[in-house]
Amino acid sequence: MDEDDRLTQQIRDAYQRPLPGEDVARARVLERVRREPVAHGSGGGRWLRVTPLAAAASLIAVLALGAVGGAAWMKARTGARAPGPATLGIDGQPTAVTFVFRAPGASHVALVGDFNGWDPQATPLRRAALGDAWTAEVQLHSGLHVYAFVIDGREWIPDPSAPLAPETGYGRRNSVVVVGEGDAL
């Protein structure tokens, strides 16, 4: 790579770097676009005047909305689903409850709770064939159960979709699942 090529590459890199204050400028542009009155049926047969700046801003807005939506979707995908805060149960009979947890990048996920002695080795979750979902089915008796997920043997985290239990002295909260209780059932 000669000197010209290096210079060209530097210029290309400089253009690809975000500009200082770009976010602020983008917000101002979007605000101006929102305030821009829409022209209906005015002369020249144009019902909406679209300047190149507005078009660019709209494109940025669409991309931003897509990014925000995608991020929200990804966030939702990382959450756990089921069993839900209350699960149908029959008095005296254990109920099969399926725990589902989405953990992108995890190599091991375990379920710990009062039903398995909080033993991280007792109930490993199985990774689904596709995606980032991990699942485990557990037989639970009626009543209130407290649980958490253990990611890669290190990080204990509550179920983001379930009610939280209070912190009880060990520094982290757990989640709650209720089986066969209440008039929700």
Binding site: A86, D114, W118, P166, T168, G169, E181, A184
Partner: protein, 219 residues
């Protein structure tokens, strides 16, 4: 705090009548805890069992501490406070409260809910299960709703006859608002407002007799 919790437990155990005793899972505790801490935990657990308090959660609390590599003092403290909270929950909810209600009530108390809120909840729903209302109450507090507001919200919903599915939906809506950035108190106010507006007559839990006599109580 630990001594206060133990004192409260001992006091409660002395003044409450004996009921039934649950089997203590001694073998599991001894298999997981050091002999010294297992002995001390078992003293607390047996005292609770002798007074008819459910000990499943206390044993689980000790095992949780061991799995989390908590110090022995923290494990004993957590088990003692759990026992004290169970005893206080029974005092607040009444001697007929079921084990799951006591466990849910103890959790609420440990989260900072005042005891009289549990009593108010029992009055608001004298016959139905309080497990779900107490779980919702604990969840609201855990998410940053001040305990007095969380308590008044759940009690108001119960007085209005909201059934468990409605309470769970309110919890979910409040949680979603908090996730979106709303302050927990405002999110809770909106959650209760929506519940009161949306609760259909068919979904409602039978109101307490006291409310029926007065023509219903508004929150």
């Amino acid at each position: 705090m630990r001594s206060a919790g133990v004192l409260l437990l001992v006091t409660a155990l002395v003044v409450t009548p004996r009921a039934h005793a649950e089997p203590v899972d001694e073998a599991r505790l001894r298999a997981r805890l050091s002999p010294d801490i297992a002995d001390r935990v078992l003293v607390v657990v047996r005292a609770a069992a002798d007074q008819g308090l459910p000990t499943r959660g206390m044993v689980a609390r000790a095992l949780e501490g061991q799995s989390r590599h908590a110090p022995a003092a923290a494990i004993l403290d957590a088990v003692s406070r759990q026992g004290a909270a169970l005893a206080a929950a029974r005092m607040a909810l009444g001697s007929t409260a079921r084990d799951a209600e006591l466990e849910a009530g103890a959790a609420a108390l440990q989260g900072g809910v005042p005891e009289d809120s549990l009593t108010s909840l029992r009055r608001a729903r004298p016959t139905g299960s309080l497990v779900i209302p107490l779980v919702v109450l604990s969840d609201l507090v855990a998410r940053g709703v001040p305990a007095p507001q969380a308590s008044s919200t759940v009690v108001a919903a119960a007085r209005a006859g909201a059934a468990d599915p409605e309470l769970l939906r309110m919890r979910e809506r409040v949680n979603q608002r908090i996730i979106r950035g709303e302050p927990p108190p405002g999110a809770t106010r909106e959650g209760l407002r929506e519940l009161l507006m949306r609760t259909a007559p068919d979904d409602r839990h039978p109101p307490p007799a006291s409310a029926a006599k007065k023509g219903g109580q508004s929150p």
